[in-house]
């Protein structure tokens, strides 16, 4: 019986087919899926903030793009997946409330997107597909078998990236 593993906010989990893995209600946060075409194990990370070095309260590594992606790569390598084989699909980083642009709340989504892209780039991990930015929340479900990432928005509209 296949399960759907749920990843919370500032959290990370791995998943092996036939199970699927999901995170619900991404707003300005970003969901990062790392997988390899040669493995049916994948990992999903749900980060809240771009940079752990700018924050005092940084014990939870999964909260940040930089330390979270480090942990995700490390966990997948422990499962025998070499980092050179990893590919990424990402979603989230929305601007939920239209506060003025210079406020931190207004542009945290953009900062998260940028930080995730830079971090993945530093590992040489290619982003195969993405659904980021704009102004709506997203739930994502990844199938490690087909490598499809389903993005569901409010009102239950969904598409696959």
């Amino acid at each position: 019986m296949a399960d759907t593993i749920r990843v919370g906010i500032a959290d990370m989990k791995l998943c092996t087919a036939p199970d699927k893995i999901t995170t619900i209600g991404l707003g300005s946060c970003i969901g990062i899926v790392l997988y390899s075409n040669t493995s049916n194990t994948a990992g999903l990370l749900h980060i809240m903030l771009p940079d752990s070095t700018k924050i005092r309260q940084n014990e939870n590594k999964y909260k940040f793009a930089d330390t979270g992606i480090d942990e995700l790569v490390k966990s997948l390598e422990q499962k025998g997946i070499n980092r050179s084989m990893l590919k990424a699909k990402i979603a989230g980083g929305a601007k939920m409330f239209q506060f003025s642009n210079n406020s931190d709340i207004g542009n945290i989504g953009d900062k998260n997107i940028q930080a995730v892209k830079e971090k993945l780039d530093s590992y040489g991990i290619k982003i195969v597909s993405e659904d980021v930015g704009l102004n709506y929340g997203r739930t994502i479900i990844f199938d490690p078998e087909t490598k499809e990432l389903t993005v569901v928005t409010a009102g239950k509209n969904s598409h696959i990236i």
Partner: protein, 206 residues
Amino acid sequence: MEKKNDNISENVRNALTELGNIGAGNAATAMSVMLESKLTISTPQVELYEFNELEEILGFAEDTVVGVLSLIEGDMQSMLLFVLGVEDAEQLVKTLLNQEVDWHSEMGISAIKEVANILIGSYVASLEMLSGLNLRYAVPQICIDMAGSILSVPCIEFGKVSDKALLINSQFKVGQKEINGYIMMVSEVHSFDVLLTKLGIGGIDG
């Protein structure tokens, strides 16, 4: 939701519950006048939540809700969030405008924003009056989306300083019209210290 992080002292809990009572109570009075209907308000719940718990406080994180958020600045930093279910929003607009208006229209949305503005304004005013703190609040912004996505906004803001957020949550009901909603004050734990010190109770940690 069951409380899981019970590390707020009884004194602090009582003081914050009372603050929430007065804040939400004044907001409710303002709203009663607008709606020409009696508005009842629950005793607020004061809890420290982990982010993962906060996500689920409104029910299922994936349900669509209407959220109106305002930032409180000045002597303390906080957020006030007014949340309604979609059906409640529809009912609220109908009650306010006394006609069949699509709640999702520009007119409907601006009516909801106006209600939130009045609620938030009177909540903040009563906090100021009680504490003598100087507070400002930004014009509220509206968002209609998944509950989890909306609540992630205060989570991120307070995630910068903590893994927990303090929530004062009041639930209200409008007369026979069955409009349910929530007014939440969400803060980073220690921003309440300023407020509690002013009230002569001391900080969260004792």
